[in-house]
């Protein structure tokens, strides 16, 4: 009997914390723009692209893309530095709009896609500078993992017309071919390739 009041107190504490959790859950669900959310990059409907460009002889820009990739990110508008992103690229989907060149790019001189079918980027930290972000992370390409920085900025975001919510970003980075074991000499003006990533994530 002596312990009865105590046990009723502890019961009420439990029910109170349950109420608190429920309130918190509702708050998270309704006030979602302020909370971290998971997004899947909309490659299914083609609202994302990974493009590259490299100088041809120093005379012009040769552009191409990777047609097949997938990725996801977490994003919290209130705390963007907590964002994370991971993208996986099927390297044999390289497309420079020329079949013979694409075949060469897939070969051992360049991507060696038979040995290294995947390239992966996974962010480690995100640093904000006003509206712009520097996404630091590890890129694994042709079996070499190296830290790179992507200069990113938001393009837009919000409710889409079909009941979903989306966030879009664009980012650029530059890679030295030799850093990833690509030693085919394309000439002095063509040592680096620039990458531009356009991603639109659909909130899950």
């Amino acid at each position: 009997m002596k312990f009865a009041p105590q046990s009723s107190v502890s019961l009420s504490l439990v029910s109170r914390s349950r109420v608190c959790l429920a309130v918190l859950a509702v708050a998270l669900a309704t006030a979602s723009p302020a909370a971290a959310a998971d997004y899947v990059i909309d490659t299914a409907k083609g609202h994302a692209s990974i493009n590259f460009r490299i100088k041809h002889l120093g005379f012009s820009w040769l552009t191409g893309r990777f047609d097949d990739f997938s990725g996801a990110f977490t994003f919290d508008a209130a705390n963007p530095e907590a964002s994370k992103v991971k993208v996986e690229i099927n390297t044999d989907s390289v497309n420079s709009n020329h079949a013979e060149r694409d075949k060469h790019l897939r070969g051992k001189d360049f991507l060696d896609t038979a040995t290294y079918p995947k390239a992966v980027f996974e962010s480690t930290t995100v640093k904000m500078n006003g509206d712009k972000a520097t996404i630091v992370g590890n890129l694994t390409l042709r079996g070499v993992t190296k830290q790179i920085e992507i200069a990113a900025e938001p393009v837009g975001g919000g409710d889409d017309p079909w009941g979903g919510n989306r966030q879009g970003f664009t980012g650029t980075t530059s890679l030295a071919l030799k850093d990833f074991g690509i030693n085919f000499d394309l000439g002095p003006a063509s040592k680096e390739v620039e990458l531009t990533l356009n991603v639109e994530g659909i909130r899950q």
Partner: protein, 184 residues
């Protein structure tokens, strides 16, 4: 009778086609192996593949023409061959046609996978018949395998002809070089 084949030996057209293709096919094999090793700034980086594609199309045309010519001409005598040699030579001789056709067609399919035509020197273009993204990869693998297979069959074919010439002392090689005996 100089132009057409007879049972005693090959006519001029068959002999010309044979030796042009012999030089062409072996040359294309060497050229193909060499051109893929060229550095980007090599003066041959563009011309070597251009020549390879152009000669390939011309050889394909010659192959089809030669096959037609072969069908409408008498078969040279093979009575001196043993049953094994007769079967083996038929397999090799008739096997060359589909093998070379597939080899040349696969090369054409690499270059035309993106819908671009093959430019035959500055002479004419062969348009793409099949435009399929990524087709250059399987076509390229098949082209490489068939190229090695072709050279293997060429080696067997050449070894057999040398055996007939130097060991059997027959006219089998001679009739492809200088045609039927001069009396005919």
């Amino acid at each position: 009778m100089l132009i057409r084949d007879t049972s005693a030996g090959y006519g001029l057209l068959t002999r010309l086609a044979h030796w042009i293709m012999a030089v062409g096919i072996i040359g294309m094999f060497v050229l193909g192996l060499w051109m893929v090793t060229l550095p980007y700034y090599s003066p041959y980086y563009r011309t070597a593949p251009d020549i390879h594609r152009s000669v390939g199309i011309l050889l394909l045309i010659l192959l089809v023409a030669r096959f037609g010519w072969r069908l409408v001409n008498p078969k040279p005598d093979e009575s001196e061959l043993s049953p094994f040699e007769r079967t083996a030579s038929r397999v090799v001789h008739w096997g060359f046609y589909p093998l070379l056709f597939a080899l040349m067609a696969s090369g054409y399919l690499i270059s035309t996978a993106d819908g671009r035509p093959v430019e035959v020197f500055d002479w004419f273009n062969v348009p793409a018949l099949v435009h399929r993204k990524g087709m250059e990869e399987p076509a390229g693998e098949i082209h490489e395998i068939l190229a090695y297979l072709t050279i293997a069959v060429v080696v067997i074919h050449a070894a057999a002809s040398l055996k007939h010439h130097f060991i059997d002392r027959s006219r089998i090689l001679t009739r492809m070089w200088s045609g039927p005996p001069s009396a005919s």
